[in-house]
C-alpha cells in the first residue's frame, strides 16, 4: 500500500505539467471558444527557447527564413528574415547567480506571450466565425507549424538538461519510506499556485468577469462595451504563458524534443475536460489527479495478480484516466459550455455529384493506365495513394456530409488491419525471420476481410456513441483520446491482436476467389504487383461510387440536414441519433476497407502505423483536398505523404529540408481553413473552372435574355465534382 501511495506521489511532476497545460487550454477556450491542439507545441517552443538561451545564449524567433538557400536562390544573396537573436555569447549557463537563471526564464515566457499573440492574430481571430472543423484544422496547422519550425530552428536532437529547480530529495516522503525529488514537488506546487492565481483573475477582476461574460454570451458582452477580440487576445496570452511555464519547468525532468512535449496536449485535454472547459481550479486538480493516477497505475500493473497477458501495462496507465475523461464528457456532454459567438460562417458546400459512373469509369481508366506505367517504387507510391484515398473517403462521409469531427479514422482502419491478420492467419510463420507466428481462424480472405470490416464498423459505431451527446470540437477531443485507447487495448493487446501485437505483425498473403492479390512479386520480390494495384483500384472505385451516391440519396440529404442543424433536422422528422450512428457505421466500414487494403499492402503492420499524428495528417490532407466531396478525397490522397504528387514534387525539392516544407504547408493549411472553409482544392478548382467556362459562354452566346452571371454561376455550382 505504501508503495502504491509512493507511486501516486511520484506522479506529482507530470501531474503538475498536465495541470498547467489543462488550465491553459481552459483559458484559451474561455477566451475564444477554441480547443487548442497546439497547446503542447507552445510549451515545447517556449521550453526550447529557455534551453537555447541557457546553452547558446540565442533566441530563435518562431518563424523560419522564408528564402531557402538552394539552387539559384543561393546566388541571389537576398536579405533573409532574421530568425536568431544573440543575447549572450556562450549561453547563460556560464552566468552565475540570479541573472543566469532569470534571463532564460524571462525570455522563455516572453516567447510564450509572442506565441499567444500570434495564435490569436494569425490563426484564431480570422477563424472566429468559422465552423468548429475549421478551428480544429487551424489548431492542427498551428501545431504542425510550431513543431516543424522548432525542428528547423533547434534541430531534431533530444535535449536533456538539468533544470533550474532544486534537485534535492525528499527522504521518507510523507512517511511512506521512499524518496521523491523536490523538483517534482516544486512543479506541482507551481501548478497549484498558478491555478489559484488564474482562478482569482477570472473571479475577481474586471477582465475575468468580462471574459466569463463573453464566454457565455459574446453578443451580450459586446453590447456592454467589451471587445470580444481584445479579451480573446488576453486569454490567448494567459494560456500561452501557462503552457510556457509548464514547458520550462519540466525541462529538468523530461527530455525535450519536438514530439513528446507536443503530445502532452492529450492528458492536458483530459484535465481541461475534467474542468468542464470552464473551471481552472478543476482543471488544475484534474491534471494533478491524472498525472498521479497514471503514475499509481504503474504500481498496479507491476502486481503479480495483474493480468498483463490480457491488458498491456502501458494500457492501464494511459487508458484508464482517459477513459474516465471520456465517460465524464459523455455524461456531462450537454452541460459543457458551447460558446455563443456573434456570427458563424456556414458549413462548407457539399454538392451532389452528377455523372458518377462516367466519372468513376474515367478514374478507373486513369488508374489502370497508371498501374501499367508505374513500376517499382512508383507503383508503391501509387498504391499508397489509393489506400489513402479510400480511408479519406470515410472522412468525406463522417466529417464532410455528417459534420462529425473524428480524428480516429486511421485507428478504425487499424482495427480492420489487425483483425484481418487474426482472421486470416493460421499460426504458421510467413517469413523465416518473423518474430512471431500469429494464430488465427485461417478463414478465406474474402470472409476474413468482411469480418475485419465488420469489426471496424462495431468499434467505429461504439466510438460514435458520445456523438449522441456531444458535438463539434468536443467530439474531436473524444476521438483523439480514442486513438490512444484503441492503440493500447486493441493493437498492443496480445490477447486480442496476437503475439505480434506489440511488435511486427506479419500479414498473410491475400487471395480472393483464387486470385492472388498479394503485393509482392514471387519472381522479382518487389512489392509492385499489378494484381494488387488493380484490386485496390476496384476497391476505391466502388467505394467512390458508393460515397457519391450516398450524397445523392435520401441518406445523404439526412446527413447534411443533421450537419446543418440537429434541432431543425429533428423537427423535420429525422431521427438524429440513428442518422449519426448510421454515418459512423458507414464511415467506419469505409475506413475498415481501407485498413484491410493497407494491411495487404504493407505485408507487416505495427501499431505505430495508426498513431495520432497519422490520423491528424489524414484529416489535414483531405481537408486540403476538400472535405465534402469524393473528388476532395481523391485530391487528398494524391497530395498526402507518400502520395503520387508528393513523390513528383519531392524530386524538385531535393535540396530543401522536409521541415521547411512542412512549415510552409502548415501555413497553407491554416490559410485554407480561413479561406476555403474546408471546401479545399476540389471545389476551388471547379469554381475557377466554372468561372472560366461561364466567361467563355457569355462571350459566345452574348444574348440579351441571359440570366445574370452570378445566378448562373450559383446554379452550376450545385452539381459538380464526382
Amino acid at each position: 500500500m505504501d508503495l502504491f501511495l509512493l507511486a501516486i506521489l511520484s506522479g506529482l511532476g507530470a501531474g503538475g505539467v498536465f495541470a498547467m497545460l489543462g488550465s491553459g487550454i481552459v483559458s484559451a477556450y474561455k477566451g475564444s471558444g477554441v480547443i487548442n491542439f497546439a497547446h503542447g507545441a507552445v510549451a515545447m517552443y517556449s521550453a526550447y527557447t529557455w534551453s537555447e538561451l541557457t546553452l547558446r545564449g540565442d533566441i530563435k524567433l518562431p518563424w523560419f527564413d522564408p528564402i531557402p538557400e538552394f539552387g539559384f536562390l543561393k546566388t541571389l544573396h537576398l536579405s533573409n528574415l532574421p530568425v536568431r537573436i544573440s543575447v549572450h555569447d556562450g549561453g547563460f549557463q556560464n552566468v552565475q547567480g540570479f541573472w543566469g537563471t532569470f534571463f532564460p526564464i524571462f525570455f522563455g515566457l516572453v516567447m510564450s506571450v509572442l506565441l499567444g499573440a500570434m495564435l490569436h492574430f494569425l490563426v484564431f481571430r480570422p477563424l472566429r466565425n468559422a465552423p468548429a472543423l475549421a478551428k480544429v484544422i487551424g489548431s492542427v496547422g498551428a501545431m504542425l507549424y510550431l513543431q516543424s519550425t522548432a525542428q528547423l530552428n533547434f534541430g531534431t536532437s533530444l535535449r536533456t538538461q538539468d533544470g533550474f529547480l532544486p534537485k534535492g530529495s525528499w527522504v521518507n516522503a510523507l512517511g511512506l519510506g521512499g524518496t521523491i525529488g523536490w523538483d517534482r514537488v516544486w512543479v506541482a506546487g507551481a501548478a497549484v499556485i498558478m491555478g489559484l492565481v488564474l482562478t482569482a483573475i477570472y473571479r475577481y477582476t474586471n477582465f475575468g468577469l468580462a471574459t466569463r461574460a463573453a464566454d457565455e454570451n459574446e453578443k451580450g458582452a459586446a453590447l456592454l462595451g467589451y471587445s470580444a477580440q481584445r479579451l480573446a487576445l488576453m486569454n490567448w496570452i494567459l494560456s500561452a504563458v501557462m503552457a510556457g511555464t509548464a514547458g520550462i519547468l519540466f525541462v529538468g525532468i523530461a527530455t525535450l524534443n519536438p514530439v513528446n512535449y507536443t503530445l502532452f496536449v492529450l492528458p492536458a485535454l483530459g484535465a481541461a475536460l475534467l474542468g468542464g472547459l470552464s473551471s481552472v481550479a478543476l482543471a488544475t486538480a484534474g491534471g494533478l489527479a491524472l498525472g498521479m493516477f497514471q503514475s499509481g497505475m504503474v504500481n498496479v500493473a507491476n502486481q503479480s495478480w495483474f493480468p498483463s497477458d490480457q491488458i498491456p501495462p502501458s494500457g492501464i496507465q494511459k487508458v484508464i484516466p482517459l477513459a474516465v475523461v471520456v465517460l465524464v464528457l459523455f455524461l456531462r456532454g450537454n452541460k459543457l459550455p458551447v460558446r455563443g459567438s456573434i456570427g458563424t460562417k456556414g458549413q462548407p458546400r457539399a454538392p451532389q455529384s452528377n455523372h458518377v459512373v462516367m466519372g468513376a469509369m474515367f478514374a478507373v481508366g486513369v488508374g489502370l493506365f497508371m498501374a501499367n506505367v508505374f513500376t517499382t517504387n512508383w507503383m508503391v507510391t501509387f498504391t499508397t495513394t489509393l489506400v489513402l484515398m479510400l480511408i479519406m473517403m470515410s472522412l468525406t462521409v463522417l466529417v464532410g456530409y455528417l459534420g462529425q469531427i473524428s480524428l480516429a479514422q486511421m485507428s478504425i482502419a487499424g482495427v480492420a488491419a489487425y483483425a484481418v491478420v487474426r482472421f486470416a492467419s493460421n499460426g504458421e510463420k510467413i517469413n523465416e525471420f518473423d518474430a512471431v507466428a500469429v494464430g488465427g481462424l485461417d478463414l478465406p480472405d474474402p470472409i476474413a476481410a468482411t469480418l475485419a470490416i465488420l469489426a471496424a464498423v462495431v468499434i467505429g459505431t461504439l466510438l460514435g456513441l458520445p456523438a449522441l451527446r456531444i458535438r463539434g470540437v468536443q467530439l474531436a477531443v473524444v476521438t483523439i483520446t480514442a486513438v490512444t485507447v484503441i492503440e493500447e487495448f486493441i493493437f498492443k493487446n496480445e490477447s486480442v491482436s496476437g503475439p505480434g501485437a506489440r511488435t511486427n505483425n506479419p500479414v498473410p498473403r491475400p487471395s480472393w476467389f483464387g486470385w492472388d492479390v498479394g503485393i509482392q512479386s514471387k519472381t522479382t520480390f518487389l512489392t509492385d504487383r499489378w494484381q494488387f494495384t488493380v484490386f485496390a483500384i476496384i476497391a476505391v472505385a466502388i467505394t467512390g461510387i458508393g460515397v457519391a451516391n450516398l450524397r445523392r440519396g435520401q441518406t445523404g440529404r439526412r446527413f447534411l440536414a443533421v450537419r446543418a442543424n440537429e434541432r431543425a433536422a429533428e423537427a423535420s422528422g429525422i431521427d438524429v441519433a440513428k442518422t449519426k450512428m448510421l454515418g459512423f457505421a458507414i464511415s467506419s466500414g469505409i475506413a475498415g476497407a481501407g485498413g484491410v487494403l493497407f494491411a495487404y499492402k504493407l505485408t507487416i503492420i505495427k501499431f505505430d502505423n495508426f498513431g495520432v499524428f497519422t490520423g491528424l495528417a489524414l484529416l489535414a490532407f483531405v481537408y486540403l483536398g476538400g472535405i465534402t466531396t469524393v473528388y476532395g478525397a481523391v485530391i487528398g490522397g494524391l497530395l498526402a505523404s507518400g502520395g503520387i504528387v508528393n513523390g513528383f514534387v519531392g524530386l524538385h525539392f531535393a535540396g530543401v529540408t522536409r521541415d521547411y516544407i512542412t512549415a510552409v504547408g502548415a501555413i497553407g493549411l491554416i490559410v485554407n481553413a480561413i479561406i476555403t472553409n474546408g471546401e479545399g482544392v476540389a471545389l476551388l478548382q471547379s469554381d475557377q473552372g466554372d468561372h472560366i467556362l461561364s466567361g467563355l459562354r457569355r462571350k459566345r452566346e452574348d444574348e440579351p435574355d441571359d440570366p445574370p452571371s452570378d445566378v448562373a454561376d450559383t446554379n452550376e455550382r450545385v452539381g459538380e465534382p464526382v
Binding site: 536532437s157 525532468i253 513500376t375 490532407f621 525539392f653
Partner: protein, 523 residues
C-alpha cells in the same frame, strides 16, 4: 470579389506546399542531434562528447610506398615503404589493418583520385531522416564523408596507391524516409532496382518489411544497427555492429559473470524494437542464467518512451522489488535508450540511489551523450561498448590512437553541418569497411557487380580490420543470430570526468550469445 478569388488562388498555392511536406530530399541536411532517443540497442560506437582531437595522420607516410604488389584477398598488406612506419598489426587489429594504415598514410601524403571513367561502386542507403520521432541523417553523412576521402585520397574502390592506379569511384545513394511504412516500402523497391552493389539499411524501424524484397532477389545487404529479430537472424544479411545482440547479452554477461551481481532489474522501452530486443536479448539470457542458478531473479519493467509520467513510479517499483528480492548484490541494467536513460538517471537520483555507492547501474553506449555525462548522476555508471572510445585514444595501442585521431580529424575537416556523433562515426566506419572488402575482391579478380559474390565475401571474411573497433568476423554465425558478426564487449565506467576502462579489456561476447541461444532456444 476579384480580391477573394486572388486569395483563393493564393490558398491553392499554399495548399500545394503541403504536398511536398513528406517528400523532402534525400539530402536532408537538417542539423540533427548527437543521438536519438528512439533507437534501441546501439552498441554501435563511441560516446558522443568530442574533445578536440589532436591533428593526426599528417605526421606519417610522407611518401608513397613504391612496391607495386596488390593486396591479397585476405587483406594482406603490401610491403610498406622503407620509411613508412606502420603501427598496426594484422594479427591484433584484423586482416587488412596494415594495408589500411599504409593506404591512409599514402593517401594523405599523395592523394590518389578514383578513376571517374570507371563504373562507380554504389552503396544504396535506406535511412530514417527528417522525422521528429527518429531522424539519423548523421549515418548517411558519415558515409559520405568517408566516401569523399576514399574517392579523393585512396583512389576509390580497388585503387592501388603503389601503382598509382585509380579504382572505381564509390557512390552513396540515399533513400531517406519518415517513420512511414509505405515510404519505407517504396525505398525498398528503389534500392532493389537501383543496381547498387550493396544495400545498407541505416537506422531503420522497417527492416522486417524490406528484407523480403532484398533477400528474395539475393541482393547483398550490410545493415548498420540490428534492432529487430529479423535484423539478427536473416540469411544473407550481415551487420556492422551487434546492435541489441551485443549491447544486451554483452552487458548481461558482464553484470552476472564478471561482476557477480545476483539480481538484475531491467527497465526497457515499450515499443516495437524495445519489445523484440528485450524478449530476445535480455529476458532470454537472464532466464537462462536463472535456470542455471547463476542469479536469484530478474524482472523487466516496460517504460513508455517519451512519456515522463511513468519514470518515477517505475523507479520506485524497481527499488522496492530489489529490496524484496533478498539479493545480496543486485544491479540495474538499462534496456532503455538515449534520452530515456537520462530521465531514468534523474529519477534514480531523485529516489536517492547513487550509482557510485548504491545499486550499480549498467547501460549501453547509446545512453551516452553530453547531457548524461555532464550530470553528476552519471558518475559511477558502467557504459557498454564494442568499439573504442574516441575521446580517450591514449587508453589504447599506438595504432588505435592514430586511427581514432585520424578519423576525428577527417570528420572535423569535412565541413559537415551536422554535429559529429556516434552514428556519424558508425557511418564513416561502414564506408571504409565496405571499401576494404570490395577492394580486396577487385584485387583478387572477383566480380563486385555479382551480388552473390559480394554476399559471399561478407560471409567468408575472417576477422577483418574495422575502423574504430576490434576486428569484425562475420564468418562464424550463431544459429539464431546468423546476421550478427562475432563481437567483443567491455563495460567502461564513467568517473565523472573521464573513463575508466574495463580491467578485463574487450571480452568475447559471442560465446555467451551462442551459449544462451543453445541453452534456451527462441520459442
Amino acid at each position: 470579389m476579384r480580391n477573394s478569388k486572388l486569395m483563393k488562388l493564393f490558398a491553392i498555392l499554399f495548399a500545394f506546399a503541403l504536398i511536398a511536406a513528406a517528400c523532402g530530399g534525400d539530402d536532408d541536411d537538417n542539423a540533427s542531434g548527437d543521438d536519438d532517443g528512439t533507437v534501441l540497442g546501439d552498441d554501435a560506437d563511441e560516446p558522443a562528447p568530442e574533445p578536440e582531437p589532436e591533428p593526426a595522420g599528417d605526421d606519417g607516410g610522407e611518401e608513397p610506398a613504391p612496391e607495386p604488389e596488390p593486396a591479397g584477398d585476405d587483406g594482406d598488406a603490401p610491403p610498406p615503404a622503407d620509411d613508412m612506419v606502420l603501427l598496426s598489426d594484422d594479427a591484433v587489429d584484423g586482416a587488412g589493418a596494415n594495408a589500411f594504415e599504409a593506404g591512409i598514410q599514402d593517401g594523405i601524403a599523395n592523394p590518389l583520385a578514383a578513376d571517374d571513367s570507371l563504373d562507380p561502386v554504389t552503396i544504396f542507403v535506406v535511412n530514417l531522416e527528417g522525422d521528429p520521432g527518429g531522424s539519423f541523417p548523421e549515418v548517411s553523412e558519415g558515409m559520405r564523408i568517408a566516401r569523399d576521402f576514399i574517392n579523393d585520397n585512396l583512389g576509390g574502390v580497388g585503387g592501388d596507391y603503389m601503382t598509382r592506379t585509380g579504382g572505381r569511384p564509390l557512390e552513396i545513394e540515399v533513400c531517406a524516409h519518415l517513420i512511414d511504412a509505405a515510404e519505407a516500402q517504396a525505398c525498398a523497391n528503389e534500392a532493389a532496382t537501383s543496381g547498387a552493389n550493396l544495400i545498407v539499411p541505416g537506422i531503420d524501424f522497417f527492416t522486417p518489411l524490406m528484407y523480403p524484397v532484398w533477400t528474395g532477389a539475393g541482393l547483398p545487404v550490410f545493415e548498420f544497427l540490428p534492432i529487430f529479430i529479423a535484423d539478427f537472424d536473416t540469411t544473407g544479411i550481415f551487420a556492422l555492429t551487434g546492435g541489441c545482440v551485443a549491447a544486451f547479452p554483452g552487458a548481461v554477461q558482464e553484470v552476472v559473470r564478471e561482476r557477480g551481481h545476483d539480481y538484475v532489474a531491467v527497465p526497457y522501452s515499450d515499443n516495437a524494437p524495445g519489445q523484440e530486443c528485450y524478449s530476445d536479448t535480455q529476458e532470454r539470457p537472464l532466464q537462462y542464467l536463472l535456470n542455471q542458478g547463476e542469479i536469484v531473479g530478474f524482472k523487466g519493467y516496460p517504460d513508455l518512451p517519451g512519456d515522463p509520467s511513468d519514470n518515477d513510479a517505475n523507479v520506485q517499483q524497481i527499488l522496492a522489488d530489489i529490496e524484496a528480492s533478498g539479493a545480496t548484490n543486485p544491479a540495474i541494467h538499462y534496456g532503455i535508450q538515449a534520452s530515456d536513460c537520462a530521465e531514468y538517471q534523474d529519477s534514480f537520483a531523485a529516489a536517492g540511489n547513487d550509482a557510485q555507492t548504491d545499486i550499480k547501474i549498467y547501460a549501453s553506449g547509446s545512453c551516452v551523450d553530453d547531457a548524461v555525462l555532464t550530470s553528476d548522476t552519471a558518475t559511477g555508471i558502467f557504459f557498454g561498448f564494442s568499439t573504442y572510445l574516441p575521446e580517450e585514444p591514449q587508453l589504447y595501442s599506438d595504432y588505435v590512437a592514430w586511427e581514432l585521431n585520424w578519423r576525428e580529424d577527417t570528420i572535423d575537416n569535412s565541413g559537415t553541418s551536422i554535429p559529429k556523433s556516434t552514428f556519424m562515426r558508425g557511418g564513416f566506419n561502414m564506408s571504409f569497411y565496405v571499401q576494404a572488402l570490395l577492394g580486396e575482391m577487385i584485387a583478387a579478380g572477383e566480380d563486385v557487380d555479382d551480388p552473390s559474390a559480394v554476399s559471399n565475401k561478407f560471409a567468408t571474411t575472417p576477422p577483418h580490420h574495422k575502423v574504430g573497433g576490434p576486428p569484425l568476423d562475420c564468418s562464424a554465425g550463431i544459429d539464431e543470430f546468423e546476421s550478427i558478426c562475432e563481437f567483443n564487449w567491455q563495460q567502461n565506467k564513467w568517473t565523472g570526468d573521464g573513463w575508466e576502462l574495463d580491467v578485463e579489456g574487450f571480452t568475447d561476447g559471442s560465446s555467451f550469445v551462442r551459449e544462451f541461444s543453445e541453452g534456451l532456444p527462441r520459442s
